[in-house]
């Protein structure tokens, strides 16, 4: 399933996961956590999810596409 849209979507998801990981590590985010304070287990999980999303984004990226940035000369 190779498409630029999927690739960008997974990349954005990866960034979101990374932000959530940082928030859990700093103890800012307490969602679905049993105690207060930093949640390193949650942070590691979201880092793994971020890595998986970035890997997925790279896999979904169409390969060998030539991106034309300039208009052809007449």
């Amino acid at each position: 399933m190779k498409s630029t849209t999927t690739s960008i979507g997974l990349g954005v998801l990866g960034i979101v996961f990374l932000i959530v990981a940082v928030l859990y590590a700093l103890g800012v985010l307490q969602f679905l956590a049993s105690t207060s304070g930093p949640h390193y287990k949650h942070a590691v999980l979201f880092t793994v999810l971020a890595v998986a999303s970035f890997v997925g984004a790279n896999f979904a990226r169409p390969k060998g596409t030539i991106y034309v940035t300039d208009r052809p000369r007449r």
Partner: protein, 282 residues
């Protein structure tokens, strides 16, 4: 406890179930509510994970290299790269369910009675996996072919589908129930996905390593903050590692021709006997 944990973690008989049942049956003064229990358990798990890392040290190096190469390239070109991605896909569901549900599930099913009942269920599951496997073997078997020849028709771990890897990974979450074995359900899941017995065991051990190691490493800071006797606990971890290494070597050899049936029967018998002993307070 170290030897018990190390041996039962990899055998399909539930380490957690045994960790709940045996101290209760033998009247050991071992309180799971004690603040030092979690660091102890963490060290034992680290011992097991280290043993698995040593056992598969060459394979893990190749898997890690394969992961980075495939991730950067955005394409899988070898069996090792495929295995690396399968392990990533298999680890995610277990990690998500583990982080968010483990504590809740464990507190719901922490009594020895429940552990014994779930051990019986684990045995039934093991026998069920083998019934389904035998059915699959009969479907494509030539007349008079041996078990070893039939095994050859099934796949290696690298050939499992990504969907099956995710399902096998999610099965690991069942092991948060004391009495249900992590290796048992993942080996069973591998069998249902069409792997050979030995390959299902290998995939199960590879899949278990990052989860056990990750869960252990993040708890390490607690070891130094809770004032526990680290030396004694470390000795337990070393024993756990030695037992896990020996168990893994044994199981990989056993599954060349063996099945899950004996473990299924053991779990049913152990669960029923434990229930009787607990009921009559013996």
């Amino acid at each position: 406890m170290g030897v018990l944990q190390g041996a039962t973690e990899l055998f399909p008989v539930s380490s957690l179930g045994h960790a709940v049942l045996i101290p209760s049956l033998l009247h050991w003064s071992f309180k799971q509510s004690d603040p030092s229990f979690l660091p102890f358990l963490v060290l034992l798990h680290l011992g097991t994970a280290t043993a698995l890392l040593i056992l598969y040290r060459h394979e893990w190096l190749a898997i890690i290299r394969g992961f980075f190469v495939a991730a950067v390239r955005g394409q899988i070109q070898s069996d090792t790269e495929r295995l690396a991605m399968l392990l990533l896909v298999g680890t995610i569901p277990a990690a998500v369910l583990g982080v968010f549900l483990e504590t809740r599930i464990r507190t719901l099913f922490a009594s020895p009675y429940e552990a014994a009942g779930l051990l019986v269920m684990n045995g039934v599951l093991m026998l069920g996996f083998e019934v389904l496997r035998r059915r699959a073997e009969r479907r494509g078997a030539a007349d008079g072919s041996s078990h070893a020849e039939q095994e050859e028709r099934f796949a290696q771990a690298e050939r499992i589908s990504f969907r099956a890897a995710a399902l096998v990974g999610a099965c690991q979450a069942l092991a948060f129930l004391p009495g249900i074995s992590r290796s048992g359900v993942t080996i069973g899941g591998g069998l249902l996905a069409g792997l050979r017995h030995q390959e299902a065991a290998r995939f199960s051990f590879l899949l278990a390593t990052p989860v056990i190691l990750g869960a252990g490493v993040v708890e390490v800071p607690q070891l130094f903050s809770s004032g526990v006797p680290v030396g004694e606990y470390a000795a337990g971890a070393v024993l756990s590692g030695i037992a896990a290494y020996a168990s893994a070597r044994f199981l990989l050899r056993y599954f060349r021709s063996g099945r899950l049936d004996p473990y299924g029967i053991y779990c049913i018998a152990a669960g029923l006997i434990s229930l009787a002993l607990l009921h009559f307070s013996l």
